[in-house]
């Protein structure tokens, strides 16, 4: 018996999506920029995929740009700042993914001053905290839609609203939303006024790695230059198979309802998450983070759960569970090789609790049996160690 519970790192690949994308791309071999018939056919397939992506995300097709994934989609709006003649500050929430925090450090070397927006003890960024952090010269604000370690859903609509209502004379900063853990998983309204850009990745939804998209409310000056593909926002010959797969993966996970992209088929995941949280409470050896999170807590994504325990370091627990066929991680897979847990630190979790924390993340196909397998392996680890 084994259970894969690390979906936030990467979802199980969807064979149907990958096969269909590969098969189609074999026929659509032309370079989409070529003017001959095979080129046109490829171009049409891309534009039709763009329309699908736009429809499922409830945004306009011309606001969707295909990229190599979440990291690049996060970087493009940040790098665009380098074109500005005057430097200022950028406000980054304390719980952003390393693809944002590390790029902020890079921008710092170019003269931009990073400001950190604090979070509550429960891991939420409030509009008040954003307003208290930004300054007159703040040109860029980044707050993710769903935190990848705790699953906390951030009030991005409220934040967008209050950024629009800055006092007269203050320019609204560019507001970027990392929606990698949100698209297809929670209701998402990217077309709300005030949201300027958002990042989405395919492999969190069963698609392949190396493909994602950037939502841009309006064009920006791209730092990457080349053959002009993706309207010059992201030049480079298009990853056609990836684009087809991304469209299909988004379609599989969400549908538009007015201006909102609403996740579909997540009843199983909601049940599994409730079972998981209740099971952990019953075991008593581990606790959820934040402690106030309940089994069906609407404040959190039903796909991601952070826990901690009093005894075993998270990293050791991950290895011990892996020996038992249960696969989870300590936190962001992207920072698993680094020391420290910045997100949990920002939530003022005690150092021991940070070190002993672990993340369980699920998908729509996670079953009650998977959860029970995890719970019994966890109990076994605690009694054996």
């Amino acid at each position: 018996m084994s259970a894969y519970l690390d979906w936030a790192a990467t979802a199980l690949p969807d064979r149907a999506i990958l096969t269909e994308a590969l098969e189609s791309s074999l026929g659509l071999f032309g370079n989409p920029s070529s003017v001959h018939a095979p080129g046109k056919a490829a171009r049409n397939a891309i534009e039709s995929a763009r329309a699908t992506v736009a429809r499922t995300l409830a945004v306009k097709a011309e606001s969707v740009y295909f990229t190599s994934g979440g990291t690049e989609s996060n970087h493009l709006p940040m790098l665009s700042l380098l074109q500005r003649p005057v430097r200022g500050s950028i406000a980054i929430s304390a719980i952003e993914h390393p693809s944002i925090t590390e790029q902020a450090r890079m921008l710092e070397l170019s003269g931009w001053k990073p400001l950190v927006i604090p979070v509550t003890k429960e891991g939420f960024v409030t509009p008040e905290a954003v307003l208290a952090t930004i300054k007159d010269d703040t040109a860029f604000v980044a707050v993710m839609a769903v935190n990848n370690e705790t699953g906390a859903i951030q009030p991005i609509a409220d934040i967008a609203q209050c950024l629009l209502r800055l006092p007269a004379g203050r320019k609204k900063p560019h507001f970027h939303v990392d929606a990698v853990q949100a698209a297809g998983k929670i209701p998402l309204a990217l077309s709300l006024p005030g949201i300027d850009s958002a990042a989405i990745s395919a492999h969190k939804l069963g698609g392949p790695r190396g493909i994602g998209c950037l939502y841009l409310a309006r064009r920006l000056e791209s730092f990457i230059r080349g053959g002009g593909q993706e309207s010059g926002i992201r030049p480079g010959t298009e990853n056609l198979a990836g684009i087809l797969a991304l469209a299909r993966a988004l379609e599989r996970h969400s549908a538009p309802e007015g201006a909102i992209s609403v996740p579909t088929g997540q009843e199983g995941a909601r049940e599994a998450m409730a079972r998981l949280i209740e099971g952990i409470a019953r075991l008593g050896t581990a606790t959820v983070v934040p402690a106030s999170r309940t089994a069906r807590d609407e404040r959190f994504s039903p796909y991601v759960l952070q826990c901690t325990n009093a005894r075993i370091p998270g990293e050791v627990l991950v290895r011990a569970l892996s020996d038992r066929g249960v696969y989870i991680s300590t936190g962001s897979a992207c920072s698993a090789k680094k020391k420290g847990r910045p997100v949990l630190q920002a939530m003022h979790l005690a150092p021991d609790a940070q070190q002993n924390a672990f993340r369980v993340s699920i998908g729509n196909e996670t079953t009650a049996a998977d959860i029970d397998c995890f719970l019994s392996a966890l109990a076994d680890v605690f009694s054996a160690m």
Partner: protein, 393 residues
């Protein structure tokens, strides 16, 4: 001296302390020669030792392998690639000028010629050779002469043929690996133990490694780090064996059956016991550790005394009187530092007491150890060891 007629890469090597070993010089020389041959196997290179000097020669394609060997072999004081020319002054001058140009291009300004005439039938004496060769460099203004403190030395040796070479590359020094017996190095993955191993290697000791792994408490990356360090030592040590002993059950048993603050010193005792088994099995006659007095709690003199009481072989601690900075300097020199500081712990925090006992009493600690009744478990761990071997190339 017979020179291979195809040879185009010739190296003159100064051997290290071997020259001090009057009685068994021959054994030491032979070992150095054998070690060099191992490094150059299949490269078509020839190694000879004559009159306290080692000559390595091979086809141009073997030059890289020869230089790798000479910069990793223990027992070499210095080496240089030499141009080999006929014993005619014009040919000798050309070789000297070529060497001088290389020296000038490396940014140096002054030189001196040192001539040696092994072949007494050569018509010029060493003073005359120096003068003639010096003129060839000085007259066209390639370098200036400084016979007292030259930036670079060009050596001209007239033997059966003439060897011309520039500044020497430093060697590792020490005594050839294998002339000092065999020792078992307790390798942890930290900064100290590879340095301790290197220091004993340099005294001619052949080294085996022993690492204790505690999956899942310690990570595969921690073991990989130790393997990488063993590979680095293997390059100097004519290869190296590494044995990995699974120690999880032992650590859990100590944790569950002894006072918390004694966990570390008891673990060290257990490691010594397993090291004894390893020495007996592989013919090592000493145990080497990277301990440095007072560096951590397990390395106070009292705790070292307790650990030592479990060893049935001499425990060599080459770093015992070194401070951390000195150890780090050596680690950087031998290239192990960057690997050693990778953040993969060799011991899980779960087994590290917050306040370990600093001055364990031998009798009392031995009693706790005996009450653990852990010897059977140690034997099991030893029997479950995993063996790895790393080559020198």
């Amino acid at each position: 001296m017979d020179i291979n007629s195809d040879a185009s890469a010739v190296y003159l090597v100064k051997v290290g302390e071997l020259t001090l070993k009057a009685g068994n010089l021959r054994d030491f020389e032979q070992r150095l020669q054998q070690n060099a041959q191992l490094y150059l196997e299949g490269k078509g290179a020839k190694v000879q030792i004559r009159a306290g000097r080692m000559y390595v020669e091979g086809p141009e394609s073997s030059a890289e392998a020869i230089e790798y060997a000479l910069s990793h072999l223990v027992g070499i004081a210095g080496w240089a690639r030499a141009a080999v020319v006929n014993k005619e002054t014009e040919a000798m001058k050309r070789a000297v000028v070529a060497e001088a140009i290389k020296i000038r291009d490396s940014g140096k300004k002054t030189f001196k010629i040192e001539a040696r005439r092994g072949d007494k039938s050569f018509p010029l004496n060493s003073y005359e050779i120096s003068r003639l060769m010096g003129e060839a460099v000085f007259d066209p203004g390639i370098l200036a002469v400084d016979v007292h403190r030259p930036d670079a030395l060009i050596t001209v040796e007239v033997r059966e043929r003439c060897f011309v070479y520039g500044p020497e590359n430093p060697g590792i020094r020490g005594l050839p690996c294998g002339t000092g017996g065999k020792g078992l190095l307790l390798l942890s993955g930290g900064i100290d133990s590879p340095v301790a191993g290197f220091r004993m290697l340099r005294r001619g000791m052949k080294i085996d490694g022993l690492y204790f792994h505690s999956h899942p408490y310690t990570s595969p990356e921690a073991q990989q780090k130790v393997e990488d360090l063993a590979k680095m030592l293997a390059r100097y040590g004519v290869g190296m064996h590494l044995n990995v002993v699974p120690f999880t059950a032992v650590q859990q048993h100590i944790r569950d059956n002894s006072p918390t603050d004694y966990a570390t010193v008891l673990l060290r005792m257990c490691m010594m016991k397993v090291a004894n088994m390893m020495c007996r099995a592989t013919g090592s006659t000493s145990i080497i550790t990277g301990e440095s007095l007072g560096q951590v709690a397990s390395q106070t003199i009292e705790n070292l005394t307790v650990t030592n009481s479990c060893a049935e072989f001499p425990v060599l601690r080459p770093l015992i009187g070194m401070d951390k900075e000195e150890i780090i300097t050596v680690a950087k020199e031998i290239g192990t530092y960057e690997t050693s500081i990778l953040p993969y712990e060799d011991c899980c925090v779960l087994f590290s007491p917050r306040h370990p006992v600093l001055r364990a009493d031998l009798a009392y600690t031995t009693e706790i150890y005996n009450n653990l009744k852990i010897d059977g478990m140690l034997k099991e761990a030893f029997d479950a060891r995993e063996h790895k071997r790393f080559g020198w190339l």
